[in-house]
Subunit: 482 residues, 4 copies
Amino acid sequence: MTNPIEDRDGPRDECGVFGIYAPEREVARLAYFALFALQHRGQESAGIATAPRGGSIMALRDQGLVAQVFDENKLRSLPGDMAIGHVRYSTTGSSHWENTQPIVRSDRRALALAHNGNLINAVELQAELREQGVAFASTSDSEIIAALLATHPAERIEDAVADVLPRLKGAFSTVVMTDDAVVAFRDPHGLRPLALGVLDGEDEKPSYTVASESCAFDLIGARYLRDIQPGEVLTLTDGGFRTRLVAGSERHAFCVFEYIYFARPDSRMAGTVLQVARGKMGENLWHEAPVEADLVIPVPDSGNAAARGLARAANLPQDDGFIKNRYVARTFIQPGQELRKQGLRLKFNPLPEVVAGKRLIVVDDSIVRGNTTRQIVQMLRDAGAAEIHLRISAPPIKHPCHYGIDMSTREEMIAHGRTVEEVAAELAADSLHYLSLEGVYAAVGTTRESHCDACFTGEYPLAGTEEEASGKYALELPLLRV
Amino acid sequence: MTNPIEDRDGPRDECGVFGIYAPEREVARLAYFALFALQHRGQESAGIATAPRGGSIMALRDQGLVAQVFDENKLRSLPGDMAIGHVRYSTTGSSHWENTQPIVRSDRRALALAHNGNLINAVELQAELREQGVAFASTSDSEIIAALLATHPAERIEDAVADVLPRLKGAFSTVVMTDDAVVAFRDPHGLRPLALGVLDGEDEKPSYTVASESCAFDLIGARYLRDIQPGEVLTLTDGGFRTRLVAGSERHAFCVFEYIYFARPDSRMAGTVLQVARGKMGENLWHEAPVEADLVIPVPDSGNAAARGLARAANLPQDDGFIKNRYVARTFIQPGQELRKQGLRLKFNPLPEVVAGKRLIVVDDSIVRGNTTRQIVQMLRDAGAAEIHLRISAPPIKHPCHYGIDMSTREEMIAHGRTVEEVAAELAADSLHYLSLEGVYAAVGTTRESHCDACFTGEYPLAGTEEEASGKYALELPLLRV
Amino acid sequence: MTNPIEDRDGPRDECGVFGIYAPEREVARLAYFALFALQHRGQESAGIATAPRGGSIMALRDQGLVAQVFDENKLRSLPGDMAIGHVRYSTTGSSHWENTQPIVRSDRRALALAHNGNLINAVELQAELREQGVAFASTSDSEIIAALLATHPAERIEDAVADVLPRLKGAFSTVVMTDDAVVAFRDPHGLRPLALGVLDGEDEKPSYTVASESCAFDLIGARYLRDIQPGEVLTLTDGGFRTRLVAGSERHAFCVFEYIYFARPDSRMAGTVLQVARGKMGENLWHEAPVEADLVIPVPDSGNAAARGLARAANLPQDDGFIKNRYVARTFIQPGQELRKQGLRLKFNPLPEVVAGKRLIVVDDSIVRGNTTRQIVQMLRDAGAAEIHLRISAPPIKHPCHYGIDMSTREEMIAHGRTVEEVAAELAADSLHYLSLEGVYAAVGTTRESHCDACFTGEYPLAGTEEEASGKYALELPLLRV
Amino acid sequence: MTNPIEDRDGPRDECGVFGIYAPEREVARLAYFALFALQHRGQESAGIATAPRGGSIMALRDQGLVAQVFDENKLRSLPGDMAIGHVRYSTTGSSHWENTQPIVRSDRRALALAHNGNLINAVELQAELREQGVAFASTSDSEIIAALLATHPAERIEDAVADVLPRLKGAFSTVVMTDDAVVAFRDPHGLRPLALGVLDGEDEKPSYTVASESCAFDLIGARYLRDIQPGEVLTLTDGGFRTRLVAGSERHAFCVFEYIYFARPDSRMAGTVLQVARGKMGENLWHEAPVEADLVIPVPDSGNAAARGLARAANLPQDDGFIKNRYVARTFIQPGQELRKQGLRLKFNPLPEVVAGKRLIVVDDSIVRGNTTRQIVQMLRDAGAAEIHLRISAPPIKHPCHYGIDMSTREEMIAHGRTVEEVAAELAADSLHYLSLEGVYAAVGTTRESHCDACFTGEYPLAGTEEEASGKYALELPLLRV
């Protein structure tokens, strides 16, 4: 571990996408604000592509936050009837300009593409394309999808998508735009989210829009309709949309971690808003493991919603036990020898006046390596807490993600090879309870069958991605995750 | 009103200062982290000056956040036994490089100076100095103080401060460093905060430090001791400090708004941590105006602490009614015709699933012009709230600040010339209660006599600054506020 | 006149273009170095687009010099078998990002386009396209050409060019690239330059390339073959090129000022290298107006080559009478009251030791407003020159350019309404001789019939662009020049 | 060798300094323009410090060119009666912000200092100061001089200089400013240049100014008076200057390479303007080694002046055989495999039409490693030159510089261990003549006794710096050269 404040001790999410077909509206501006709402899904780069019907695709993308990449002049240089957009998270080393999105290609047809997820068979697909003489400008697996679609002989883009989709293995929630359509499609397992919304016109026809999360709809005045189905190819058209299911028979495997942590609390997924679902996770936490306590405090902000629910269920008072510094930056000075012990304090400052002498229930969403949690417990002890009862609104994380989320290795995970009691001892907590998988699914009102919870269970839903085989993805796919 | 998301509908605070005398410690690094903790007091520029005893003052300052201005190389080029630092808030137009701090001057003596506050007699003092041939590099009133001290004939800097302090009219919490001392001083009214802390050594002598708020001490492992007294001149020395009161007889007038909004909730002032004091303001709000309700929600983050307290006092459930977008930027695209009605939604997204059908108590810290509050009420209505009861943890703001805080003009203040009922009607709230001044002071555990609450009462504590006379400061002091 | 050193007292040239079809070579790298050689034609922005055969067009363009816009990573993200490039000069106000080139459009076909020149019928063409629903991302007339070609129904790009070319009025030396061809074409009058070169392979087939000037060929190891003909459409193909003349009957009108000043002295045009042609202009200057003198000095660098020739013809010694500051920047501090009289000295420092007491022949390429020349004469007088005989290697400039060059208005031209003697008096020169038009053409070895010399003669070669009508272009075409 | 165009095959000069005492003038503006004239001596960083009499020193310095570092606002924030300035050349690795100048220190006295040269006893001096507790912000030997002066107990700065100067070993042309004086001083050997100029007022008293080269005076309207003497301490005062010689008995050793290459041709040194001196070097070259030839061409720009002189002496025609690209940038793309053979062509493009079939005399100022010259000869051969006679206006460089100039190691020098005939063969030239040392001194009108020509002769004029001992400077003084 290096810089304690950069050491986000939790999994990292990957990318947000957006698409809209809305002649007579300012589609670039709508994309801008939608991406702003999706900013939490990627702070590394942002991009927008627009096209008039029958016209030219224009795209602008760069490294930085949405508000840094675009200004009024640049938005004005993006005219059109439809738009797609992208925000990208990136691990160090692959943060090159050429990996920003939307990707624009013009092989047989011109198109722009924005992708969230990662392909398992990227290497094979790229090799195939290279043999056919297809050149690549980037190292992202997203460009492979773009190349497959841009070189495809089908007349209509949605036919190209329908043909290509079954050849893609892995996770992909993708939006592609040509000069006459915006097509959204999702892998047959539905690993990453993708939602459909509608923007009602006054005297106008409705306009349809897709986004990684429904919070993007709220900001642009659209309404959430439903999630795009796994294996669905949905084409936005004038005043409506066409849809077909091209790969419907696969086992669904939506990432359960979106409910727990990734998505914004104001997003709707599986028919529920996550603030409410996470609140219920907190309630369930209480019911599974009640404890005598004086005060409930969240780890801000990841534990906020569950702490609300737990406190309500327990009828216990709640307060802020830490104040979070909102200015934590990407590049940061090392604390140096003297301040090393301050560690996490750069991010969270505990409030002795609030916690001293209290029996605390401390609520967070998950524990990966445990470094952050260990420091939190220590800071609360130093601040005079009488007892510290950890309540985590997810089961123990014991297995790496093979579908695009950058978690630690199994060996680094604190719950790997330890009982809950051993983890509690390791963290120096008076008690520790992880929410059961049942508790998670019940809070959301859904079931395991259609979800991926491999990071908790080790049961990988996609064929050929069981844990023993996992090494190869890391080896073969350097820099290919977007 | 222009861009709704930039329109912070509340008063704006001004600058944070820091000082430390700690031979054998990395003083530049300590200053860096202390400023990082004070970042909420100023995001426009940051600077650090250091000096070895008997050595050369070195300074580095620039526009930007602390983490943007400094890197490891730059910190290493700031050696020394003592340091001061500054973060600055700035209104548009005066955000030039030359107004960054600490200011370094070398007239008769070399010194560096960091200042929070503003002088009322800046114009007169500067004219006097110019007549004596003193040149100025900036337009800030802080440089006037620096010039008075740097040109002063007294041998010791603290004697120069003691002589100059009575000539300064207005608000100033100031730290000045020469090659042998760090001196902190505060105006006789004590308008702006300044605290004293101690950094215990293991085998070493203690090191003393001063900062605008005690949260800076927490980050660098120091302990809060007490506030610097109004009119006190405190000199940090080797293993201790010297103090004298040079202007003790004035009426004290600490800004009550620091308790309510400006300072971080984890800072200690007047013997209390503000999260607790603000929680009690929420409790008092409930006791002053109880109402039948289903749920308490804060306006994040300004209403968080008071909402905690009110909910505890009322034994009512609490939840997040809005999700706040953490990526709101300084420069931002106009929403355009279509999205104009979205307004504040760029910053706050309401949660219908949480608030629909509920009788809400909505808690915030203050209302200035009312634009934000009006939109909040409207958004909650649109989200299905059954009743909206506004509870504000401060009295109605009716009078401008003459001591350095950039509030609106009296005419723009919604409470100016309106009864509380009229304001409630104007905001379309079902009920509205402002916390009484007594309620504020009781929560903090202090009294009016030693504070300034002119923005609520119109009773300006400094001679010659009553409201009728106020126009002249704005006219005569362009760009002079820091 | 504002800043004397920014006041280039001569006409300004506009843009450089490049194209190459060279499978198996690093085309992006070749384009980079070619643009570097053409940098003198535009310092405002630079861009490169590449495409593999049958593949996707990739483009990268930005404001700045070639060496500032590109780095190794960016070049590597531009794979392909062919490339085009552009450097752009821009007047203040239109230097937006969206006006950089190559322009990429993907209406019916995807293409990238780089253009030097300006259209006279831009407004009409754009209006027509807009009626058909074509959207534009920029304000440049270059995008109009791109849109006409990208929306054209012809199967092959060269057929689209052949059809569109006759509809374009004005000056255009253009390179367009699709996924299977690079096509270069030039307006029927051949106003702006465009040359063809070949890059011999060792065992490979030759690769062909086009550029505004042949100096670009030298840098990448290519050989100059010939100029593209006015009205010619030349398609670069695998190991060769196809050509057709689509508008051959028009009067040719190549800009004679390219010979005199715009092009680099090492470029070949009309079968001659310009250093030699300009040297002959100097010789002719001497023969037309010999004078007793001691020393020949150039105005650096514009008068260098002609001064060489004049000195050789006269068998007179030559020396540097001025040293030129090579660091003159775009943004520059005003000299202030005291230094105003220093004026041009920021750019040129005279050498009294060289010129004092001497009868000088001072050689420059042209005089537009005369401000620079007047100061040069004065500086030489102050430095002690005994006599100053101005010799200008172009006729008097009396008429504005209607084809894309930003000269002054007629009223500002010093030769407008003055005899040569009056101009000499105005400039305080002992004598002044302008090279005759015959002298210019003889030096190049060509004739008036195929050239435009309207700035000297007022005889505008394109129909409908005679001087009386000129006002309308300025009025109707704001920001449309590239 | 890496990037051929960055590979300046010649010695590199180091830093330019400026000082002025001119109450009632805009001293910051004068410094700005003077530094602009000295820009050729350092493009890495620029800085200006100003002070009013009895007032505060203000300084602004940053990496970049003069025109990039300063703007109007920044100049306006530098008021005062006197100013000093600095431009800095830097080798890779030490180009940190903290090594920019002027250095400001405020130990016992506040001062700003600008230095050209390098100290031989920097390590010893710094160790001594550190023992006394003096801290350093940078790694430059310039800060050591600043610290010695700032900590010195003498009342007047010039007395401090007089005391410190004899303790400094090495090369230093230095300007130091306090709040009441600008003092210029030069090492007793006078290794690096420093000139005195005067700015006449109209009704005012004259103002005096110092600069590395007199070309700075020309730009600000000042007149060159004389060079500062080796060992002289010159204090600029109101309407005059005071001077004393504190170390006059040493052997003078002015760097002869300033005449040959470093200084601008319009600068005056040793009573002559260098354009004329270099012209005479060219004349002497002809007289020492006449040859039958058709044309004289310079290597631009370093050979320009000598080529002028040689052609005049030989009465041979002269022309440009190469066109130089003026846009060569610091960071530059590698040419890649294919273009590697193009090499130097990125910088110089030969003109076959000028040189083909001709017997050429090619003139340059010096040869260090010979890589550039070898390529130049090859390019001319390829362009068809019949014969190539190299004429170099300096003797063979065979020994490294120990006084601050970054030449190659002895082993890399082409003339090391080779006769002139062997060098000619190595370069593939038909003949080669180096100007004799006598020829150099005669051209300048001075003698060896007062100069350093160790790079040619190996006779190092300073005690203890003979060649055998040279290794230690490189080892002991990492990053200490400015």
